[in-house]
């Protein structure tokens, strides 16, 4: 973290709204990725990010070390998302409306196949531990380099590499049939 970034975090902690808005601009996409990893639902993830930012502003005085601000933000987001997911569990998961399949249409068939793969990927993702999901979404949503992910999630380099390695391996295992068809 360079010094200007550090200053921004410190200003935000001391109540500078402009600094905080700048943080929103730089961090909210990452937060969205994390929330999405937990919830796999865009609207809910967006709400979670919103709540996270408001809560972070109200409790910003709790952060003593500006270095840890991003990690703290992502922790709030993860907890918040987990709360939402837990509350949702009682409500039946909304299944995607089955579109009528027209096997004769080639494009439709391709589309259908693609949807199916998407569904499989999402299902595989949802079986991973929360942190693994967050690391994957950060990487693939925002194409963040490892250093940024480490800072966002508050991890060391070794830990992140291990997490991503295991996450990729687990995904591979779950999606092996789909992968086989792709090759």
């Amino acid at each position: 973290m360079d010094s200007s970034e550090h200053d921004i975090y410190r200003a935000a902690i001391h109540g500078d709204r402009e600094a905080f808005e700048m943080i929103i601009r730089t961090q909210s996409r990452a937060l969205f990725a994390i929330a999405y990893g937990v919830l796999q639902n865009r609207e809910e993830a967006e709400d979670v990010v919103q709540d996270t930012l408001v809560k972070a502003w109200k409790t910003r005085w709790r952060v003593r070390d500006p270095e840890k601000f991003p990690a703290w933000l992502s922790t709030i987001a993860r907890h918040r998302a987990r709360d939402v997911a837990r509350r949702r569990r009682s409500v039946p998961f909304p299944t995607d409306t089955e579109e009528p399949i027209d096997p004769g249409n080639d494009a439709a068939a391709a589309n259908l196949r693609e949807n199916e793969v998407n569904e499989q990927v999402r299902a595989a993702l949802s079986t991973l531990p929360e942190l693994h999901r967050a690391a994957l979404t950060l990487r693939y949503f925002e194409a963040m380099d490892y250093a940024s992910i480490e800072r966002t999630l508050g991890l060391s380099n070794g830990a992140l590499r291990g997490i991503l390695g295991r996450a990729m391996a687990a995904m591979r295992q779950r999606l092996r049939p789909a992968l086989a068809t792709m090759e």
Partner: protein, 678 residues
Amino acid sequence: MPNDNIHDEIESWLAADVHDQLSSEERTALAQHLAACDSCRALQQEEKTMHQLLEKTLAQESADPAFEQRMVSRFREKVPAPNGGLIPFFAGLMRMRAAQITAVAALLLTLVQVGKLVTGEGGAFPSQQASLAFAAPPARDRSAVSSAGTIVTGANIPMEGVAEQANERGSTDSIQAKSRDELKKDLNDKSKGAPLTPSAAKMQEQEVDRPDEAGAAGGNKVESTILPAAVTPADSRKLIRNAQLDLEVVSYDAAVQRLTTFATEEHGFVATQSSAKLPNGKLQGTIVIKVAPDNLDRFLQKARGLGELKNQTLGTDDVTKAYLDTDARLRNAKRMEERLLDMLQKKTGKVSDLLEVEKELARVREQIEQMQGTLKYYDALVQYATVTITLAEKDLNEPAAFLLRETANLSLFSADVEKTFREVKSALQNAKAQIVQSNLERDNSGQATARMAILIAPEESDAVIARIKGMGRVQNFNVQTERVAQNGSGMSDTAKVERDKVQLNLVISRTGEEQSVQQTSLRIITSAVTDKVTQLKAAVSKAGGELRSSTFSRNPDGQEVANITLRVPMKNYPGLVASFDQLGEVKDLTVQRNDQPGTTANPETAPADVSLQIYSPGTIVSDETGLTATLRRTLGQGVAALMWSLRMIGVALAFLAPWALGIGLVGWLVVRFAKRRG
């Protein structure tokens, strides 16, 4: 990352590879391992496909480009910027270290100041006092110089402090303050060429000091200071001097005579005189004497020798200004008069004008006369000093006579109240006595009481009271004598003493208990208490006695106690006491005899009181022993202990709960406040 571990950790290596996060050395190391390891190579292929799939599926799920802007605007909506305000400002201020330190310092300073205020430790006062003390001597000098033309009075206080004394003088001479200042100016003007020599100044100081010594020696006595300097420094000054003396003399007439002589000696005269004779023959009066101002002091000194000086006041009223003003106005008026007269003499102008002039002339003349009168009045006042002397003969308040007032209270016991009441009344008819008040009342128990207030002529009082005493048995008699001073107070050897009528308050009643001649108390131990009590009662009635009270009680352990008090005539007393031996074993016998010499009571019929206690020894084993009783007691004690511990817990709760509640509340408030700020 050690290269030999690549195979074991191939997953993370592959992931970092597809994510393009390996350093160039690491990439080479991985390539070497993959070239050697088939399984890992297969995995790498799979990993790459996986990576592509994820990029394709997940990348499209990422946030839309307008996402950040949306977040910012929604944040602004949800958390509106606070619009200033004092509280947020102070809260922000308090977060700053410098502001915190300043606040603490200010608090400490305030505490110190408050502490100083409370303890009254101020550095300012002593210096003020010092300056006052230094400022004082000049004031004294001034008074010494200026008092050359005036009299300083009221110097009866001992010398305590220069400043105080100077103040005292200032206040007593406040009337003269103005003239003094003017005088001082005059003196200064005069002495400009040749200032006051040190020796002269010293002399004046000594003169000022002298009265202080006299005052200290005289104690409470009123002393005055008269500076022998010239009384009138300049003839032009118009000073009205007056003095007031309170004297106590032995003989009023002699004092007046001598005062008249003194007045003549000092070229004065007695202006007015008034006196009054008091009931005790003492004289008191006021005499006003006019003397020449120059001789006032000598006159006063002479007058003080006449008797004891109780009070003295000396005053000087400077009327110079008023006098001069009036004088000037008078001259103006005179000039006006002249001009008016001129106008009249010229006899020009109309009649109405002449009338006007006449009117004006009359007015002016009236004014002139008025002012001339005023000036004459002043002159008269200034010409003579007025001395008002109040004379009082010694022991002015001595009583003229004393009155001896006797009050006698008599309580009579009579078996027949009404008969005695009638007897007393008839006895008084032949005596020099008067019944002021009498009443006879009978209460619901049949007891009669008569009350009388009788005034008896002093010469017959002793005889009458003695006769009344003989009509019954005297229970109480006392006489109070009061010596009442008439028209005054204190003692007097010469005053007459007269006896007033004797007031007798008489109460005749039956209620009074005839006092017993002998009191006996004893205890009798017996096994059958009830039987013996019956036996005793029979014996008492046989002996002609009466039973006054009896109680009977039985203790839980079976002991019976009977308390009996009775009264028998003295003649039957020995027989009754002898019969007690038959009742049981007599213990603790006490006999007390009250002989009342002088009473007319018959020794045969006089009553004797006996109080007895008849009791049984009681069972040795009481009901309070045995298994059930012990069990009951033990349980009772256990319950009591339990209740006690409960009470202790209650007390502890009462001690601690408020504190716990209070601390919890404060903590909660602090956390809440902090959260809200955040």
